[in-house]
Symmetry: C2
């Protein structure tokens, strides 16, 4: 991991988690503790993308921290619900018991619901600035039926389909399921500044796809202990993945090409975007 990127990611993670803890500290309900549990321990990549995109557009760290924490809350809600017995039925996440295991299903449903509300509360905060409503609007689209939830629904349908998905279908699924939030994260800083978000959008589209391919490779080759979650679930379930469709070597090549595309998209930002380029390279080099 490039040193500049590694410390920037770690710093971003500390900041977003501190803000989320602060927002939840005043609530004494068990569901508030379950929400904290749901947001802790992640890499914080999405919040980092918000902070970096904001820096490139001259948005203050104080303002950018709010949507950065917001997208981490939204991502956490999706994981808490995804882990439920009726969904992926996972007991372990980031090396810890999942929320419905540590508490119960009802608390996990409510904690996820309230994490989604918290995401919008953070993005709509007046301190976010004059474009806060546009952030809320794009977040609602990225998280909803046309974005993340749509991708998850396609994923569930694929499990019971007669034939495995083809490459186009799995790419469409990914663009919703993981791509939409990554793209929102990268574009948020430009949106906050009222600037052109297209270069960051192109960066994020390539990055998100590379991220999913890398995830599929890790599902085959990764170390469950380092990953902090169960692996080889996709292959076991006979699900189509980028690896099952392309083969391991071609998947690796495709991910590397996408990272080049992502880096090229950052050219309008010149050397300023070095950390985002490092982030892209990290996505395919990570072991968890």
């Amino acid at each position: 991991m490039a040193e500049g990127f590694g410390s920037a990611l770690a710093q971003a993670g500390r900041e977003t988690q501190a803000l989320l803890r602060e927002r939840l500290a005043g609530h004494d309900l068990p569901v508030a503790r379950a929400m904290e549990h749901g947001v802790m321990g992640g890499k914080g990549l999405r919040g980092f993308l918000v902070l970096e995109g904001a820096r490139l557009h001259g948005v203050t760290r104080e303002a950018a921290r709010l949507p950065a924490a917001g997208i981490e809350a939204l991502h956490a809600y999706s994981l808490v619900h995804d882990d439920l017995p009726a969904m992926d039925d996972d007991d372990l996440r980031r090396g810890q018991p999942t929320v419905h295991v540590a508490w119960d299903e009802a608390t996990a449903i409510l904690a996820g619901d309230a994490l989604q509300s918290l995401a919008f509360e953070l993005c709509a905060d007046p301190a976010v600035g004059p474009h806060r409503a546009d952030l809320c609007l794009s977040l609602a689209r990225a998280g909803g039926i046309a974005g993340m939830v749509g991708g998850q629904a396609r994923d569930i349908m694929a499990e019971s389909a007669d034939a495995p998905l083809d490459l186009d279908q799995i790419t469409e699924l990914q663009q919703g399921k993981t791509g939409a939030l990554i793209r929102w994260s990268a574009e948020a800083g430009a949106v906050m500044a009222g600037a052109d978000a297209r270069p960051l959008g192109r960066y994020a589209a390539a990055l998100g796809l590379a991220f999913q391919i890398a995830d599929d490779i890790l599902d085959v080759e990764g170390d469950a202990e380092k990953m902090g979650k169960a692996l080889r679930k996709d292959a076991g379930a006979g699900k189509a993945t980028f690896v099952s469709l392309l083969g391991l070597e071609a998947a690796r090549t495709r991910a590397a090409e996408l990272i080049e595309t992502a880096c090229d998209a950052l050219s309008p930002y010149g050397a300023q975007a070095g950390t985002l380029r490092d982030a892209a390279r990290f996505v395919i080099a990570r072991d968890n």
Copy 2:
């Protein structure tokens, strides 16, 4: 039911449901059909309150329709999740099979999640006007840990508590669980106009409490067929309700007093607020 109010409520319900159907029509996923199922058939009281509050502040119907549909989507999400086996485990809602019965649990979880996103998408729409970010912020608070979800969490805790709740505790629970969204609905029109929302807030606080007392009375006295859902679950579970704490007669008296308080709060609006006064009286006169 007063005729003016009855037709205004029915008209509001048609408008909000038409807008929600229109927003979901372009999506061919089963989860989109599950979302439609979740929003259909409700009384539409919350959307009606948005439209009436907006009318009192000179906000156009076209703009007000968006948050009116939004709050109906948010309310529907809470019902879809509330009905899940891990929560209230209800098979019937508004006389129809609940979403997890008609589809499955995973689809019900996702449909609820996407309905929450849709609520924010509607409130953040540019056509809502210059105060759309404030609407999103107050909706996030009303729906989250300090509002509706907080109330639901208290409700779940009460079920496993050693002693039933007292009147103060059950009032606090209600202010979150059902009160927060009713209050948001009544205040939304004033927020959209950048006007003082306190009179409508006072109206809604009294109305929401009366609504819950009336619900508790209906749970004891109502007709399950007219209500379209299972009744007498609270008494069967030994849960404290306004009826169990006050007795039937005192509960009725308290609800009637609250309706007077609600109507008095509307005095700044004079005769213009006649329909909202009728709405308050309907809340304790309804049989479903």
